[in-house]
Subunit: 160 residues, 2 copies
DNA sequence: CGTATTCTCTCGCTCAGCGAGATACTAGGT
DNA sequence: ACCTAGTATCTCGCTGAGCGAGAGAATACG
């Protein structure tokens, strides 16, 4: 997987390493999704829903679809699917009755933990080889890369 | 996006940060794919093909499908699609004539650079805020996380 | 040589996601 | 109070990605 350019600029090796990590995560997610009869989209939706639930942020179909880049029609089908699997429940908002509020069922939380739990454990274990100072460096680095990527994305979005 | 647990164990913040970076990369990739009329799968295939081309590793439909977890039927359709877009070319292997070898067209390389080029530039710029020693730490860290994830995945695969 | 194996492709099917539009409710002006 | 514009969700019809099963072509191995 190494190339000539990697030897020219060590920073490129780092970009490459970053991408490798991303690919590995995606493969793991796909593995999990396939095993539980979920589609990649379902998993992305679940992650978004679990994040929102932990932050006690209410989620509507509209917001969800927006976040995972799905048409309103597609979002409806997605929620139908998750509801049929007993992972999520629809509830009419009482104050604005056009809205539907999505609440994740305990089963979804369990499912999430059964996936992330062991992986997180493994990751935490691997982190012990690094000092707190080093981990801090990595954290700052990742934050920088995330914002840089977000910037590049926003830039690309404005440049058709 | 921060939670109670994050405050309990700083290492969890790091896991979270790692995931955030992954999500951001995926969104960028999706953005690019949508703009060029490619499906997420097509992009993953292109990345695999470009990697293989850079490493001067020949790729057959079988290997490609295996790598991106696609059925042989799906792989055929995928290659048809990429070939129709002029991004890839099929060639019978002369030594083993059951095989088809896939070669990426220059256009695909250009397309890849038009995507990764600017992003990489942005990332490299953001990296300048870190010392070579720090970048080395990050690189080791990412490598550790990648292998840890791969291990977790292999573990999950054996544990139905 | 014949038989098993390997690689790719074809066929028929299911279902995720899209565009367009229907439906239901709210907000704001008059 | 009413009419209108705006917003949130869902329905319908359709396209096409990906799957399972199996056919066809070439190789390997006894």
């Amino acid at each position: 997987m190494s190339t000539e350019e990697d030897r020219q600029d060590p920073r490129l090796r780092l970009v490459h390493q970053l991408r490798a990590a991303t690919v590995e995560f995606d493969l793991l997610a796909a593995e999990f999704a396939a095993r539980h009869g979920l589609h990649p989209t379902d998993l992305r939706a679940l992650i978004a829903l679990l994040d929102a639930a932990r932050a006690e942020r209410p989620v509507t179909p509209g917001r969800l679809g927006e976040q995972i880049r799905l048409n309103s029609a597609g979002t409806t089908t997605l929620i139908d699917r998750l509801e049929r699997l007993g992972l999520v429940r629809r509830e009419r908002d009482t104050t604005d009755r056009r809205r539907v509020l999505l609440t994740v069922e305990p089963r979804a939380v369990d499912l999430g933990w059964s996936f992330f739990g062991p992986v997180i454990g493994t990751l935490l274990g691997a982190m012990d080889a690094f000092t707190p100072a080093e981990r801090d460096t990595v954290e700052r680095f990742l934050a920088a890369m995330t914002t840089a990527t977000a910037a590049a994305r926003a830039n690309a979005a404005h440049h058709p």
